[in-house]
Amino acid sequence: MDRGTTLALVGPNGAGKTTLLKCLATLLQPSDGEGTVCGFDLRKQGDAIRERVGLVTVRGYVYDDLTAEENLRFSARMSGLKLGPDEYRAALARVGLERAADQRVRTFSTGMRKRVVLAQLRIRPLELALLDEPYSGLDTQGMALVDEFVREFREEGTTVIIASHQAGEATRAAEQTLILKDGKLSPMDHDEAARSHLAFHSLGASEV
Amino acid sequence: MTSKSGLANVIGIAALALFLVGSFVGLFVVPADGMQGDIQRLMYVHVPAAWLAFLSFFVVFLMSVLYLIQRDLRWDRVAQSSAEIGVVFTVLTLALGSMWGKPTWGVWWTWDPRLTTTAIMLAIYVGYLAIRSFADDPDKRARWAAIVGIIGFANVPIVYLSVIWWRTLHQPPSSPRSVSPEILWTLMFNLAAFSVIYVYLMMRRIRLAKLEGELEQRMAYHG
């Protein structure tokens, strides 16, 4: 994949999109084969990859008993960043959570929780952003926020991969589309996918 | 395959022969210990069993390190085989030690450094085999087992030294009395016999493990 492109990864539930993204984020080791991410070897240079890659999962890695700001602070410090309280507030304002900054995430709705995750993503400089079902749980405003972020990433030259089982959503924001089905990755005609508003339904017992 | 099997058979027969000769000599030929009587003859089985128990564990340790470095499942198979055989020798050592202890010192068990260490080593072995039963993926299983094997073995000398300290603070350690050459030679002979038994058992078990591994692989691919 070329650097700086925005790619939509579509396919039915259980096809392995999440698994693929987690492999790219070095959370899972592939059982077979080699690969490089941002120029670094997947198996041997995982640390360099993690420095440049951000992952957004469906639930997100967020602690219910910490406030939104504390979650952000944890994320930033674990990524090696040292930021002041103003910057955390600003990051939360960016995702529309400035009034809920000091509330515990346990009290948040799914959409608000997702916004915390997005704030965590945006706070770090990235070369590759991996978004797994980023639109799930968000209202129209939230989805517009994701699209904004994707646009900003593109302007900054960050590569973006959006995985979704809703083909229309993902391809709207992307330049290219790949479909992962039955263990095979193949290109899909981008305009056709954007127009199709296809939603893939999980088909029975699909072995990944 | 047939030549390997043939070699194993030869070693097996040799092991059996050596063991029979060693036992015969130990039981009937060599004079019994003056103070302890015939029960002392248990030593000819107890000591080699103990020696092999520790050797097996050392092999587990070595293979675990090799596996972690090279990630070759062959080392894991050797480790697993050695652990299983080692458990048998360890239980044998403890049982014989108990049998020896009762008439000699009047107790089934004593917190003697070697016995205690052996008992703890048994617990570590059991843990090693137990953790293997929790992973279906051969690489994961080998990795976890290797970790347990390494840390477990690292503990053995520490446990041994700690128990020695513990006991010496309460009573003086038992010093080995000088042994007559006949007893020594019989012991050495039995030691050699047991070592050959170990080699034979290992050859058989490793080959079995290899077949098990192939079966596992085939089942994974074809379902």
């Binding site: 674990m78 | 703890i120 300290w165």
Partner: protein, 225 residues
């Protein structure tokens, strides 16, 4: 050092959550006190006997209580996406081990601050004259327990029979540390005319150092998916 800073961030996170939910600490203190009480009850009113075995009972109580804490170590990550939530960040994954280790040590020491006085009452032993030495032994023993425990907890966190496997693996490995802690504590409390406690303290230190190095070294392999 970046490693320590990230480890400390994990400690901060865990202690903050613990302070807010108070789940573990309260349960542990209650459980520990209960265990000591049962021991004292079972052994009867013989003061001299109680004093002689006080060291052993105390450390058995600490070990059982410690296991509770260890089970929680990585389980607390479960609701937030599992340990992936820590592995996803850059930097040496050993920071996770160090962070969890420091957290466990702190919580266990906090519980012991309640436990030792409880033992003093239940077993009729004097703690104050030797408070400093006892504190030293408690700290060394707790560190040793946590070093090995945090490591094995990471190894067994995904196993089905975790509650059985963790003690099965942990207790044989802890024997030298228990010997050292129990003997040192008993000698300090009951009387140490020949100053033997020094040997045990040295054993504890050796144990701590050796297993810290080994655990730290091997941890990334234990964490592999």
């Amino acid at each position: 050092m970046d490693l320590l800073r990230r480890a400390w961030t994990i400690v901060w996170k865990d202690l903050l959550i613990e302070a807010r939910t108070k789940q573990a600490f309260n349960a542990m203190v209650f459980f520990a006190a209960l265990v000591l009480f049962i021991f004292s009850f079972a052994l009867g009113p013989d003061t001299e006997l109680l004093q002689q075995v006080s060291g052993g009972l105390l450390w058995v109580g600490i070990a059982f209580t410690g296991i509770l804490s260890l089970n929680r170590t990585y389980q607390s990550e479960e609701t937030s996406g599992g340990i992936e939530g820590l592995r996803v960040y850059p930097g040496d994954p050993r920071a996770i081990y160090l962070g969890k280790l420091f957290g466990n040590i702190i919580i266990l020491l906090a519980v012991e601050m309640v436990l030792f006085p409880a033992a003093a009452v239940l077993f009729q032993i004097q703690l104050l004259p030797h408070a400093l030495e006892l504190a030293g032994v408690a700290i060394l023993g707790t560190i040793g327990f946590s070093i090995v425990g945090t490591f094995y907890a990471a190894l067994t966190v995904n196993l089905r029979a975790r509650e059985v496997m963790l003690p099965l693996l942990l207790f044989p490995a802890l024997i030298p540390m228990l010997l050292g802690a129990v003997n040192a504590t008993t000698l300090i409390v009951v009387g140490d005319p020949m100053l033997d406690s020094g040997i045990w303290i040295r054993l504890l230190v050796a144990f701590d150092v050796i297993f810290f190095v080994i655990s730290l070294w091997i941890f990334p392999i234990a964490l592999e998916e």
